[in-house]
């Protein structure tokens, strides 16, 4: 979890713009820390749930709601699922109802796996809110895309199922799968993390290699994207500046380029200088990765500034986010919302060295991992119902206690 000295930056579409208000512009924004800093974030499109030292908080344009007693969130634009010590519950967004749309009691036990995983299955931020998993499948983590699901097993194996029309399952076809199916192409390479975007997938191996598959319509797989190449060509013809175009540092020869629209099998990705990847996250149509050297790379759809380069260009090759380098910030973890990128940063340990061992400082730690904050005092099943947001956004802070 984020230690003192860490903070979160966010790039991309703001919660203000999601409410129809003017946005703060393309630059990075620092998340207001709240009490005890921000440990984890769960972004939706128009709001984000953050975990502070005082518990969960729901932040949307101009307002904040305390979510007392809850520990984890799984947000969507239609519902928010919250998980506490003894129950998981879902509420409708934007409706006047005060009762939960769904509720499930959870057995007490050892440190639970992170949402969306639940005992025996996983949660969804929309009806039916819960799906069982086959008994034999031992899951370490699970990621939800728009139409598909990725599961990382305790043995480092990856399963994928759901809609497959865009190759996002990685089984080599465009067929959908009703049940979890092993991604054979990755068998034999133990994986450490998986991430799912709108229609694309990513996994990081224990060794720090990044694999991607699925839809490449905006270059989100870091494979040559025809639409982007054509935009670049038109931009050159018109003599326009590179404002909306983002060519790769070493463009491939024009004749040799095979454009890829759908990659139905996992492909190994090469980042510049081939660093080891420590974390990856996927938005609707973009991807962000953090390296063991504390750098942040992004690629894919960039129209709302979510790639963090200070412009609205999309890119089909990974670009380092220079703002962090310029500010001397070390990227620890990254979490993508649909059109946003949240990165946890801190000052580098001194002296900075390429083999810095972050674990020397016991107070430091990565923002990844399933460790939970110390439980708040309030653990009863009558955990508070978050008040329903009003239909009009309210200016200023509103701290609601259920």
């Amino acid at each position: 979890m984020a230690a003192a000295g860490s903070s979160w930056l966010v790039f991309g579409f703001s919660t203000e713009e999601a409410a129809g208000e003017p946005g703060p512009g393309l630059g990075p924004r620092r998340l207001e820390p709240g009490p005890g800093g921000i440990r984890r974030v769960w972004p939706a499109w128009s709001y984000v749930v953050v975990e502070t030292g005082a518990g969960l908080e729901l932040r949307s344009a101009g307002r904040r709601q305390r979510l007392r007693g809850w520990r984890e969130a799984l947000p969507s634009e239609t519902h928010v699922v919250l998980r506490g010590a003894a129950a998981a519950r879902a509420w409708r967004r934007g409706a006047g109802l005060r009762s939960a749309a769904w509720s499930r009691f959870l057995p007490r036990g050892p440190a639970p796996r992170p949402l969306p995983l639940l005992p025996g299955g996983f949660a969804l931020p929309r009806p039916p809110f819960y799906r069982a998993l086959p008994a034999g499948l031992r899951a370490r983590s699970l990621a939800l895309g728009t139409e598909h699901v990725l599961l990382l097993g305790t043995g480092g194996d990856v399963h994928a199922w759901g809609g497959g029309r865009h190759g996002q399952l990685g089984h080599g076809t465009l067929e959908s799968e009703a049940q979890p199916r092993l991604v054979e192409a990755l068998a034999g390479v133990p994986m450490a993390a998986v991430a799912a975007g709108g229609w694309h997938s990513a996994s990081v191996s224990e060794a720090g290699d990044l694999y991607m598959w699925g839809w490449n319509e905006s270059g989100q797989l870091a494979l040559p994207c025809k639409a982007l190449a054509e935009e670049r060509a038109q931009g050159e013809e018109a003599g326009a500046g590179a404002a909306a175009l983002s060519p790769c540092p070493e463009p491939p020869e024009a004749e040799a380029t095979t454009f890829i629209s759908i990659q139905a099998l996992p492909a190994l990705l090469d980042l510049p200088q081939e660093p080891e990847v420590s974390g990856v996250s996927c938005g609707s149509r973009h991807t962000a990765a953090v390296t063991r050297g504390g750098e942040l790379y992004t690629w894919g759809w960039g129209k709302y500034g979510q790639l963090g380069h200070g412009d609205d260009a999309s890119s089909d090759c990974p670009r380092r986010v220079e703002h962090l380098v310029a500010q001397g910030l070390w990227a620890e973890a990254v979490v993508c919302g649909p059109w946003t990128t949240y990165v946890c940063v801190r000052e580098p340990p001194d002296p900075p060295s390429s083999t810095a061992d972050c674990s020397e400082d016991p107070a430091a730690g990565t923002c990844l991992g399933p460790t939970l904050p110390s439980a708040p005092q309030d653990q009863t099943c009558s955990d508070s119902v978050p008040p329903e947001p009003n239909s009009e956004p309210q200016v200023g802070l509103q701290l609601h206690e259920g």
Partner: protein, 413 residues
């Protein structure tokens, strides 16, 4: 409707255009209901309301408000685009398509109020017509008609003129043996067609049906370019839809004609597109064959598709779930038909997406891989301008164009 030759140009200046456009919208904000055919995510309606509010300000969106309206258009289109792609097209809710249409409307209005050339607004209207669903009494269709009148009058580009040059020697048609040839009938009666072809499900070439269709005397590549040149349409790129490199791309009719009809640097086909819903002016040049009244469905449910492409376009052997009248307007097409009873000899693809398509290349079959194909009996024809081919339900058909060709298909039940 495009301005007729010799007509006065519409009143000049962006102010006049904005006034005409503004007249297409409801008079007051209260009458602009933002109705949707179903539920959408709660974040959407506030954005729609804000965009509507910008429109009904004192002088319409001016200056900074046009920028805000444009931005809202982008957000609405991008948000709903993700919903449009979130499952099979048939399952996409009409409400999300309507949101996309509103996004196109607000974007087009922002372009116009900012004084941008009408082509950018036309493109946005077309995106909404192609992927959205009608709102405000087909406001996008009404808007694009107004915009087309304000486009520069000079529409004959190099593409149009070059297309008029005839091919020195029309490509010879493949031989059709008499025993394979499809029968031809001239204007059969409804009963005769029903009893001899529709009920027994036997294909036939009908002649004389199209004689009075205006398209037979009006349509040419150049005419299509004049009426629809600035409109955006989906084009299929690649030799055939079963190929790996096959893809679809949106482009204007001008670009399509320039790149794929005149120059033919690679294969492009404006195929299976409901062009006549998008461009009602062209619909007035065709008619629905009378024999469609023998079907059970309503006339509104008849799907009319345009098929416009260079010589050499190929539709691989496949079957469709409805009856089909394929009307040939200009150019010739070589067509082969196989009965559904021969389906086993035609080796349909296993995958769900291509299950209606044969794996066999009809004019160059791999008889080692597909030995039973030689057992399949077929009929064929060279479909000439003015002829209409009746393709019964699920009848396998293979089509290759022998010239620059324009066909219109009618799918009915």
């Amino acid at each position: 409707m495009a301005a007729p030759v010799g007509a006065e140009a519409p009143a000049a200046g962006p102010g006049a255009l904005w006034a005409e456009v503004r007249a297409l919208l409801p008079g007051t904000e209260g009458e602009f209901t933002l109705a949707l055919s179903g539920e959408v995510d709660p974040c959407v309606r506030p954005l729609l309301r804000r965009a509507r509010g910008l429109l009904y300000g004192a002088e319409g969106p001016a200056g900074g408000e046009a920028a805000a309206l444009r931005r809202l258009g982008h957000v609405l289109r991008d948000y709903s685009w993700e919903k449009l792609n979130a499952g099979p097209w048939q399952e996409v809710s009409k409400a999300w398509r309507q949101v996309y249409t509103y996004g196109c409307l607000f974007g087009a209005l922002a372009e116009i109020s900012a004084g941008c050339p009408p082509v950018s607004a036309v493109r946005l209207c077309d995106m909404g017509l192609l992927m959205g669903a009608s709102v405000l009494d087909n406001v996008l269709g009404r808007l694009v008609r107004v915009l087309q009148q304000h486009l520069p009058r000079e529409r004959r580009g190099a593409a149009g003129l070059a297309a008029e040059k005839a091919r020195p020697e029309p490509r010879p048609a493949p031989a059709v043996r008499p025993e394979e040839e499809l029968p031809r009938l001239r204007c059969p009666s409804l009963e005769s067609f029903r009893d001899k072809h529709l009920i027994p499900q036997k294909p036939v070439v009908l002649e004389g049906i199209m004689d009075h269709w205006p398209c037979m005397r009006k349509w040419s590549v150049d005419y299509i370019c004049q009426v629809a040149g600035c409109r955006t349409v989906p084009v299929e790129l690649g030799s055939r839809y079963t190929d790996e490199e096959w893809s679809q791309k949106l482009m204007t009719v001008d670009d399509f004609i320039g790149q794929y009809i005149v120059n033919e640097k690679s294969m492009g086909y404006l195929a299976q597109h409901q062009l006549f819903d998008q461009i009602p002016e062209l619909k007035e040049d065709i008619s629905i064959p009378d024999y469609c009244c023998l079907g059970e469905g309503e006339e509104e449910h008849i799907t009319i598709n345009a098929w416009f492409g260079p010589e050499g376009t190929i539709s691989p052997l496949h079957q469709d779930p409805q009856q089909n009248f394929l009307a040939q307007v200009f150019g010739r097409k070589y067509i082969r038909l196989y009965s559904p009873q021969d389906s086993e000899n035609l080796y349909p693809h296993e995958s769900q997406i291509l299950h209606n398509t044969s794996q066999v290349d009809v004019e160059n079959p791999d008889l080692v891989k597909f030995p039973n194909f030689r057992k399949a009996a077929f009929q064929s024809c060279v479909l000439m301008p003015g002829q209409v081919l009746f393709i019964p339900v699920k009848y396998w058909h293979y089509v290759r164009s022998l010239d620059v060709s324009f066909s219109v298909s009618f799918w009915w039940s």
